[in-house]
């Protein structure tokens, strides 16, 4: 990474080095310009920021605790802390961004909201924010994901959202993003698209990162208070990359702090069997951004596999691509099997059932611990709770409920 003061990223054209940008149909450019301007204004608007902070506190229940994991610490001979995003209202970090963008939609005077969802957590978060703020909500979700995450589909409907099944392509998250983009191109004048991860065209990667940075800001203050020093490692799962960038970003200038992301290693190394963009992907343009993409030699985007719907995505947020190239962050693979072992480990040793996504971070704790000295401080982001996954885990393990 750059020496001295890191420069402000993204740059004015929405790039993190060669990654990012706005690769969208012409129709959307004015909407992206409008959001960029509105977001820049909201960032400086004290009333907006206060409203955001107040809702995070009074509605979401922030700050979330930083929990010392005594048994895990004992097992790995490291000091392991858990950032408890699972304790947020709606059960995951996604609500931070949904509230932020929901408030922005009010500023943009857009009454209709669309969103994509993979695991359903972002869909639930958006449906919740819309109910709270009085906005109409439509959520696109791949039909394969609807099957895997049936309880979340019903939760969204209970919250008054319309869930629209997506049957094109691979019936998963990337196809839901395509459909959401198609809806947005059609209804751009009345509609704001609450993109759920730190990806897509500028300014979404920046804006989502900023709304999620509350995770890292809290964690930084909490660990300094608890341990009197900065952590050695931050560890988080990386799908699109919003929980991880939210944790990492406030530590960007703390060069002694290592960032480690856990990608979905799925069930094998062949294309289509995993969602590990940094070991099987290559430079490309996909869904509005330049980044690493799991694609074939003809630039066709490949299907992915992960036990976790939230990590099942063929590309990754552009800031992660940049951090990987500049070696500011490193990314490891966690297979389905290790993720499931991670879920059991956290459940049995700490009394916390993590989401399958977050279980990928726990699943590689042994590998991460081996990269550090004894007594090192490791913060693991528990990005969501596992309630939504209980039935899927049972199915995966052949247990009849």
């Amino acid at each position: 990474m750059a020496q001295g003061r890191p420069k402000q990223l993204p740059d004015a054209s929405g790039r993190f080095g060669r990654y990012g940008g706005r690769y969208v149909p012409e129709t959307l450019i004015p909407a992206l310009d409008e959001i960029t301007a509105a977001y820049a204004a909201a960032k400086k608007d004290k009333a907006f920021q206060k409203q955001f902070r107040d809702l995070l506190k009074d509605f979401v229940g922030r700050p979330t605790p930083l929990t010392f994991a005594a048994r895990l610490s004992d097992k790995y001979k490291r000091r392991i802390w858990l950032k408890r995003e699972d304790l947020n209202h709606t059960g995951a970090h996604k609500i931070n961004n949904a509230i932020g963008q929901g408030l922005l939609a009010l500023k943009l005077k857009k009454q209709r909201i669309i969103a994509e969802t993979g695991a359903g957590q972002h869909g639930v978060a958006t449906a919740t924010a819309c109910a709270l703020l009085g906005l109409k909500c439509h959520v696109y979700m791949g039909t394969e994901d609807m099957r895997r995450q049936a309880p979340n589909v019903f939760r969204m409907r209970l919250l008054g959202a319309e869930v629209i099944g997506v049957n094109s392509g691979t019936h998963t998250l990337k196809d839901a993003v395509n459909e959401a983009l198609r809806d947005w191109v059609t209804n751009v004048e009345s509609t704001h698209y609450i993109l759920g991860s730190a990806l897509g065209p500028h300014p979404f990667p920046m804006m989502v990162r900023d709304f999620q940075s509350v995770i890292g800001r809290e964690a930084r203050a909490q660990i300094l208070k608890a341990e009197g020093r900065l952590p050695d490692v931050l560890l988080a799962c990386v799908g699109g990359g919003s929980n991880s960038i939210g944790l990492f970003h406030p530590f960007m200038k703390d060069k002694s702090v290592r960032f480690i992301g856990a990608e979905a290693g799925g069930r094998g190394n062949a294309l289509g069997e995993h969602a590990a963009r940094f070991s099987g992907g290559s430079f490309g343009v996909f869904q509005g951004m330049a980044s690493y993409v799991l694609q074939n030699e003809d630039g066709q985007v490949m299907g992915t596999h992960s036990v976790s719907a939230g990590l099942d995505y063929a590309s990754i947020g552009p800031e992660h691509a940049w951090m990987r190239d500049t070696k500011r962050a490193e990314y490891l693979r966690c297979s389905d099997e290790r993720a499931l072992a991670g879920l059991h480990l956290l459940a049995e040793s700490e009394g916390i059932i993590p989401a399958l996504e977050s279980s990928h971070a726990i699943g590689i704790l042994d590998e991460v611990a081996a990269k550090t000295r004894k007594g090192a401080i490791i913060i693991v982001n528990i990005s969501g709770r596992g309630d939504k996954d209980v039935a899927e885990v049972a199915r995966f393990e052949g247990v009849k409920l």
């Binding site: 012409e26 395509n178 070991s279 996909f286 074939n296 003809d298």
Partner: protein, 312 residues
């Protein structure tokens, strides 16, 4: 299969704000007959540019047809293009099939899926273009998302496409400011780089797009993805007038046009009309029929005649 680990070099696909100056030095009109100065000059007058000049001389508007290459297979694509050219279609847009066509509606999505299922690759499409060129000189334009072009390598793609007989390129997901060097590479190879404008585009941006576009400007006449619609939008005349106030470069109108009547009406506002999904649906319906080419080319001919009947 992927090339494995590591980042594929994107060739000339680089990003930089410095490229803005290239915009300014690039000459200002769409109808110019010489490629941008400062680049290698291909020794061929662009067929798209020439076609618009000829049509203007005859007092006619252009009819542009879109089909997806490889739908239902590349042999059919070759015959469809030749058939449509014989029926009087002025310019043909060939879609390069892509796994995630986010700006396309259901008809074109399904066409992409059929084309990919039939094993269509960029190399295969280029080979089909060579076969087309042995039979017709109709102007040909690639209509594509960036991903397949980047994977092939932008510079190699530009050279190979031009050598095969392609005259232009329209990148659906590349607003010009995102890839000035990419566009310069295409132009240097001799390809006319067509820009899109939309109903949401503000005037200052319309001006930029008119300046940036080569061959013609594609006016997406309504919000939304590709696909047939019953009515023409109410603001069509006003929008095209705003574009034409910038320069007299050709403006073609597309998105949702499906009948000879609509085509004629749209043609009266601009310099040409583009029909895609409507023809693609015919291919979907008759893809396996022996008279596929006759049906699609016949319908394209009806649309072309309706457009040609509109005086300038």
């Amino acid at each position: 299969m992927s090339s494995g680990s590591g980042v594929r070099s994107p060739g000339s696909f680089k990003h930089g704000r410095s490229a803005g100056s290239e915009h300014k030095t690039a000459s200002a009109t769409l109808s110019e007959k010489t490629p941008d100065s400062g680049h290698r000059t291909p020794d061929r007058t662009n067929r798209i540019t020439r076609r618009f000049a000829d049509l203007r001389a005859d007092g006619k508007k252009a009819f542009v047809a879109y089909i997806c290459a490889g739908d239902p297979h590349l042999d059919a694509t070759v015959d469809l293009v030749v058939g449509m050219a014989e029926q009087g279609v002025d310019i043909i847009e060939l879609g390069i099939p892509y796994s995630d066509p986010m700006a396309d509606g259901p008809a074109n999505q399904a066409a992409c899926e059929r084309a990919l299922a039939s094993g269509t690759t960029v190399r295969g499409v280029l080979d089909a273009v060579r076969r087309i060129r042995a039979r017709t000189q109709v102007p040909l334009l690639f209509f594509t998302y960036l991903s397949p072009v980047l994977a092939y390598g932008a510079e190699k793609f530009a050279t190979d496409a031009f050598a095969a007989g392609i005259d232009g390129l329209l990148s659906l997901d590349l607003p010009p400011e995102e890839g000035p060097e990419f566009l310069a590479t295409m132009r240097a190879a001799g390809l006319a780089t067509v820009c899109l404008s939309a109903p949401t585009t503000p005037l200052v941006r319309k001006k930029m797009l008119m300046r940036e576009s080569r061959g013609f400007l594609y006016y997406v006449c309504r919000l939304g993805v590709t696909g047939e619609r019953a009515e023409l939008p109410a603001d069509l005349a006003k929008q095209v007038k705003a574009l034409k106030s910038v320069s007299d470069a050709p403006v073609c109108i597309g998105f949702g046009i499906s009948s000879p009547e609509q085509a004629a009406l749209a043609a009266s506002h601009g310099d040409g009309v583009i029909v895609g999904s409507h023809l693609v649906r015919l291919i979907e319906k008759h893809g396996k029929d022996a008279d596929l080419v006759a049906r699609v080319a016949g319908r394209a001919g009806e649309l072309a005649r309706a457009v040609h009947a509109v005086g300038v």
